[in-house]
Point group: C2
Chain length 478, copies 2
């Protein structure tokens, strides 16, 4: 058990960053100890906002000497409490937001070297400005930071063609719990010099060290991009369509999102200005995007080719219904994407929601949807499944809204039972209970209870090897 | 220091796999203790060839109890001695070759689950048979095995568009030094449940555990593939061409190989039946491949488009010369690739060679070639640089042949000095001294001496955490 830090110690930490960047008043601290969903409040006596890697190093050195627990924080958009201090007041929050320089863009190597506090949207804009694409894209990109994206191995809509945050990262700069700096900011696509330390820090949610900068991949900016909104009857049909689109488009298939009828109906009901994309409501909706390195016309032709071939395939009794519309303008394309991106938000209008961030093998998506539906009904027969997500990645945000007009508190009391029921289905299909949001505080106990003991044991050995004093974001992940 | 294993202990190991698969005679053992380049001979009293994961587990359990060092081995094609026992006779070789089942191909999830002993060529053929591509491709693919490919994080020619072995691996089954089995054979594209153990085992060269099976990504088989052979004046021009090709083709650019004039001349001289691809000899050659998910014509059109645009760009004084030919048939395409793949072999006809497997940021390739040339001249003024490789990955096989007619032994005595001089250039450019072959025995001392001490310290902590008794392939990597 760590003792409450004394004022004298807080002064020593504050001296490293200077008084303007050491927040100690309740009002200054508040934004750092509340998170978007309001589920993981915490408490701290000190938020440090270092302005350089040297300052981060000095902070960790002092933390190590005094065994002070440190909670690294980026844009504070995480959904599993990984960036929140606990309630004891003993932990110091380390905000990386001031480390927000883009250190270099290398157009020939197609890399950008960015500090941890660079906001994702700013990074995407910087790439766009030099005719490159940085493909990581999340709903929270206006405020999330790249250090947090890497620490939580963020996914999002660009992952299908370009990979998750891990895949986009070539090199890292990390401050270790001791304050030592690991400078591994390499721009190399091939490097087999010893163990892959980089991928340990990526996804570790700040429990092994503090990511302060990264070398990230850039891609040629597509010359054309086009999307279609398709209405279909079943997840099985979505899988057929996805298989066809993958075969025909390969890496040009840059998004394949699935949404249930109910999910869309919530958006149309609660998001002002939203318009139904199809004439008739369909049981399932697919948002499919094709990108082309050549031209807009080329993207359109390929998308049309896929849709036409699929429609020919549906001229039989097995596939009774199909409707589709291609975005005819950039504005319409944006409108389609806006529908997709409003889904989490729209759900708030329907009362309490129990959330899951799961992945299964793509081939198992239909079976998951069927069996998870049964699992939900067994816990709360009148609950309303709100199923949508990155089907191409096998990743669904399988949320469950409370029964219409029901009691919110009573419904939310079912959270553990509902999670358990849905996650049992996930596990039976070889899936993951955290596809892209991470473990944080939220899923730590469940991870430890349900992951193979051999894996947990190895993770604990890694943690002990890197952070023997357990000062790096304790109580998270493992 | 481990004691020499007694006969009684060897009998216990042999009993696990049965006498037919426990090799103890010198003649049976010989193929397992000599490697392709003949540089890393070793010695062992026992080669075990288990036929199941359970047998691998039992072997490791016994090894752990008796502190017997184990050297895992795949197809024995490694170039850095990672698969070779030392000369003491104390180490037992564990061949994974009998674990050669393809357990499953999942066409909708686009995955194949293969055991460690599956030969790479067989895996590629199996994928091809179901209209899929497994893109890992190496000169040794007729005998290397997928377990070794993963343990050494193999690269090869497919890496530009599809990634290295690490990028192709979704899940692993690993037998730990204790004999425990880590079953992490997941097919998930997104999975954020704790630390990334998989990527620690990939590239660890058998020093942390024994990979027994893996889930690997499959891709749609391209409908068209076409290659061009281009003659250019300088590495700078190669970089311009690569930048243009990347911008126009994106992931459709599936190979970009660079070869010096001398390299090609050695092939034409020593490889029977080889024909010069261009009318005139050029200082530098590029082999560029475009793949299309649509058709052969589509690939050809895109390749032509790139070449035409580049040629227009060369109509100025800065770019004085350019010559190119597109393969007009599959046979010609194969012939071009054969020239490229014969380069290592052809060099043998020119006497002793000092080899390097380096990578630098792609933008630094021209500078590397210039500065490394000076470095070589400073060590051996008459030595002949043989420079070729995967330029698109920033990865060159920068070999140096002995002076024509010179003394081979005297030249090879320069090996350490030459490596040092070339690797100093690599390090000054933020590069890697082992891009795709690994560390093994060959580069271990240099890695430890030149990598950042912080990184070496972390790697040692990982090694100790996973293999405290140091029985997993000791003396390799770290």
């Amino acid at each position: 058990m760590t003792a409450m830090p004394e004022d004298a110690l807080l002064d020593r930490f504050a001296a490293i960053v200077g008084p303007a960047h050491a927040l100690r008043s309740e009002i200054d601290i508040a934004p750092y100890v509340t998170e978007p969903r309001g589920r993981y409040g915490g408490s701290t006596r000190l938020v440090l906002r270092p302005g350089s890697v040297a300052e981060v190093s000095a902070i960790m050195k002092l933390a190590s000497e005094t065994r002070t627990p440190i909670v690294p924080q980026g844009g504070n958009t995480g959904l599993v409490g990984g960036q929140m201090p606990d309630g004891s007041g003993r932990e110091v929050v380390l905000s990386l937001s001031r480390l927000n320089r883009i250190r270099e863009i290398d157009l020939q190597s197609n890399t950008v070297t960015a500090e941890a506090g660079v906001i994702l949207h700013a990074l995407r804009e910087a790439a766009d400005g030099v005719e490159r694409l940085f493909p990581l894209s999340l709903a929270s990109q206006g405020s999330c930071e790249i250090g947090g994206n890497l620490s939580s191995n963020a996914g999002g809509v660009g992952a299908l063609a370009y990979g998750v945050a891990r895949d986009l990262c070539l090199g890292l700069e990390v401050v270790l719990p001791t304050g030592e700096v690991l400078d591994d900011l390499r721009k190399l696509k091939k490097d087999n010099t010893g163990y892959d330390l980089k991928d340990l820090f990526v996804g570790a949610e700040g429990t092994l060290g503090v990511i302060t900068a990264a070398v990230l991949k850039l891609f040629p900016k597509p010359k054309g991009r086009t999307v279609a909104w398709l209405g279909i009857m079943s997840p099985e049909e979505a899988l057929s369509l996805f298989t066809l689109a993958t075969e025909k488009a390969g890496p040009a298939l840059t998004a394949f999102e699935l949404m249930s009828e109910r999910t869309l109906s919530f958006v149309l009901k609660h998001v002002p200005g939203s318009v139904a994309p199809l004439k008739e409501s369909c049981p399932w909706n697919v948002l499919m995007e094709i990108s082309s390195g050549r031209s807009e016309e080329d993207a359109l032709a390929l998308l049309d080719d896929i849709v036409q071939e699929y429609m020919v395939g549906t001229d039989n009794d097995d596939v009774p219904y199909f409707e589709g519309v291609m975005a005819s303008s950039l504005a319409q394309s944006d409108a389609f994407w806006h529908l997709r991106e409003s889904m989490s938000e729209a759900q708030k209008g329907e009362g309490g929601s129990i959330k899951h961030d799961i992945s299964v093998p793509v081939a198992s998506i239909p079976r998951f949807i069927r069996e998870a539906g049964e699992a939900v009904a067994s816990v709360a027969p009148d609950a309303r499944v709100v199923c949508f997500g990155h089907m191409g990645d096998g990743n669904l945000h399988y949320n469950v809204s409370q029964p219409a007009g029901g009691d919110t508190a009573a419904f939310l009391a079912l959270y553990p039972a509902m999670n358990h029921a849905v996650h049992e289905v996930v596990r039976s299909l070889g899936g993951s209970i955290s596809a892209e949001h991470g473990i944080g505080r939220m899923k730590r106990d469940e991870l430890i209870a349900t992951a193979p003991p051999v894996a947990i044991d190895l993770m604990r050995r890694v943690k002990r090897a890197f952070d023997p004093a357990n000062i790096m974001n304790p109580g998270k992940v493992i």
